[in-house]
Amino acid sequence: MPSSQTPPAGATALDPTAVRPDIADARIHRVPAAELRATLERLKGEGFGMLLDVGGADYPGRELARFDVVYHLLRIGRTATTLAEVGAPDRVRVLCAVGEADPVLPTVTDLWPSADWAEREVYDLFGVRFDGHPDLRRIQMPDDWQGYPLRKDYPLRGPALERTPRPSFALKSNVAAGTPASGKTAAALQRQIAQARGNSSFAPGSVPAAAATPAQLAQQPVNLKTEDTKS
């Protein structure tokens, strides 16, 4: 079973994006960072008017640069009113690799305003910066968070400093430790048991001597009346 105490090594020399399985999900282009904007502008001109998603991935071991930023584009008709006029929609996937030394890519928020938050998220979780982004700051993690969580060398449980301490349960609640789940205090429960066994005098906290066997206890009538609230 996978254990979250020892996350698996994430580095892989393999580049999964270079393995092209026989799946017809999108046309795929891999472009270097210098050609990214030109490619995306060209695709937008060809009718891919919707940017579906900008996502990141981290491949620490591969020969190609470490980070992949993946752009998913969609082409659908804009003025069509019937499904027949829309025609067959089309998908394209553009992958762009950036190295870890200086992970910077040009922003596409001027082409598609929806890239705003998506690029911020890639920055927040991977550390890839986007040149020209109007407001590049963390979006998912608090502003003063150190590190980029979705990188493969970032521990699953976070840095040791931030790990919240395991609580001491007894201190955190005013209900005494060991209180049975029914809400009655231990003393009240003892009193009820003592009453059932016919003990007239009872010292709170002490275990009744000469314990009856379970069979004998089962024979005795149990007082099921609700305890008063002054216990």
């Binding site: 079973m1 996978p2 979250s4 996350p7 698996p8 994430g10 892989t12 393999l14 999964p16 994006t17 393995v19 092209r20 399985p21 026989d22 799946i23 999900d25 999108a26 008017g49 919707m50 940017l51 579906l52 998603d53 996502g55 990141g56 991935a57 981290d58 993946v70 998913h72 659908i76 008709g77 804009r78 003025t79 069509a80 009113t81 019937t82 499904l83 829309v86 067959a88 929609p89 998908r91 996937r93 598609w112 305003p113 929806s114 705003d116 938050w117 998506a118 407001d135 700051r137 963390r138 979006i139 998912q140 993690m141 608090p142 502003d143 003063d144 969580p149 979705l150 970032y154 699953l156």
Partner: protein, 407 residues
């Protein structure tokens, strides 16, 4: 832990403070933001001049968690993204994994039918929550009770089939976890019978209600071009006139076999989105009825014991079954390397998963394309010029789920 929200999280510069202008932080705890959303609004009196939504208050690290779990375990965390329709998340993820495994053409028809059935029921249940809570935002409390009662009957079906009301984790690679229990179809017939009169009541309460119409018509109008620029999908997009539905555009999971209409409107305002979702519920029920009639007994998962554990009963009888079961439970199965993008039509729009496998027994990367993230971004453009009360209506009509937005 610090109790102060850092100043840098405000992306609004307060230059001057006039008598009427102020910066108001709506959320992250707020009854009408449909979850943990903080909107830093700059308002003049009651009118919003700028709205800056801040998200991340529910960031769960699901994608990182999924990288540390086996392929079939990752769906437990992935289901918790869009928590109003968990099976949709699971279906999309498993379709992607099945494509990488190369078994997407071998899913048995009964498994596909039940998957479609449960996903459409999920859609109806999710829209019930949207409708109920959207009504509450406007003060219409009765609709909430009617809708949640309908949702209860649907959750009964999830509990009967998968074991849990929400997050049933019923879908597996190659089909389903187990077959539908006896009595399920009778329960389903009860839901189908209940649906018509119940939705008639809800429509009578809400659809022609003058207060609702007053608050929703011409509020939050989105033009079709803007919808594309903002990457809107789902009912939000279809209410602007663009008939894009992933079930029609890129059919998956057996949807080609069913008859349903793609509901579109052209006005693009909150009322149009309201009507689109109402009519979508009807279409979903139409699909549910078709599936109900088409259901036939048969296998519920592929026969490949490398990915699908053999039936539990065979473990005591067959050594191979025991070994396969053991290996799948302790080691998981390996998925050939590659990457794939799979999308489904969730209740909020196009839910997509970009799944990368490095050949191992865990996902290397699961990137979610969350429809609510992009739908919610439109708020930046929609809010200015509207009243604060309209802001509430707009958020309701965009129907965001923050498990998905923040992941």
């Amino acid at each position: 832990m610090t109790t102060a929200i850092p100043e840098s999280s405000y992306s609004v510069d307060v230059v001057e403070r006039s008598a009427n202008r102020m910066v108001l932080s709506m959320g992250p705890q707020h009854p009408s933001t449909h979850g943990v959303l903080q909107i830093i609004t700059e308002i003049e009196g009651e009118i919003v001049t700028k709205a800056s939504p801040e998200i991340g208050y529910l960031h769960t690290g699901i994608e990182k968690s999924a990288e540390n779990l086996f392929w079939s375990q990752a769906s437990t965390v992935i289901e918790r993204m869009d928590y109003l329709s968990p099976l949709t998340n699971a279906l999309c993820y498993y379709l992607a994994v099945e494509k990488l495994l190369g078994i997407d053409g071998e899913i048995p028809p009964r498994a596909q039918q039940v998957r479609v059935l449960l996903c459409e029921l999920s859609r109806i249940a999710s829209h019930c929550v949207w409708l109920g809570t959207g009504g509450i935002d406007l003060g219409a409390l009765t609709g909430f009770f009617y809708c949640f009662d309908l949702r209860e009957r649907i959750l009964d079906l999830f509990e009967a089939s998968g074991g849990a009301r929400m997050h049933p984790n019923y879908i597996r690679v190659g089909g389903l976890g187990r077959d539908l229990p006896s009595g399920f179809l009778e329960k389903l017939d009860g839901v189908i019978a209940m649906y018509g009169p119940r939705m008639r009541d809800v429509r009578r309460l809400l659809q022609k209600n003058p207060i609702l119409q007053d608050r929703m018509i011409d509020v939050g109008i989105i033009a079709a071009d803007d919808a594309l620029a903002w990457s809107l999908t789902g009912p939000t997009l279809r209410a602007t006139g663009i008939p894009y539905d992933v079930r029609r555009a890129f059919p998956y999971g057996g949807y080609e076999a069913y008859d349903f209409d793609v509901i579109t409107r052209t006005e693009g305002d909150s009322y149009a989105r309201f009507l689109v979702r109402l009519d979508e519920m009807e279409q979903s029920m139409r699909i549910v009825r078709q599936v109900r009639d088409a259901l036939k007994p048969g296998p519920i998962a592929i026969d490949d014991t490398k990915v699908m554990p053999p039936p539990k009963e065979t473990i005591a009888l067959s050594m191979e079954a025991l070994i396969h079961h053991f290996k799948i439970m302790t080691e998981g199965f390996r998925v050939p390397p590659g990457d794939v993008y799979q999308a489904v039509e969730g209740p909020r729009g196009e839910l997509g998963y970009y799944v990368v496998s490095d050949g191992g027994n865990r996902p290397y990367r699961v990137r979610t394309r969350p429809p609510s993230l992009y739908n919610l971004q439109a708020l930046k453009g929609l809010a200015p010029g509207n009243l604060i009360a309209d802001l509430v209506v707009i958020i309701g009509s965009l129907d965001p789920v923050f498990g998905e937005v923040d992941r």
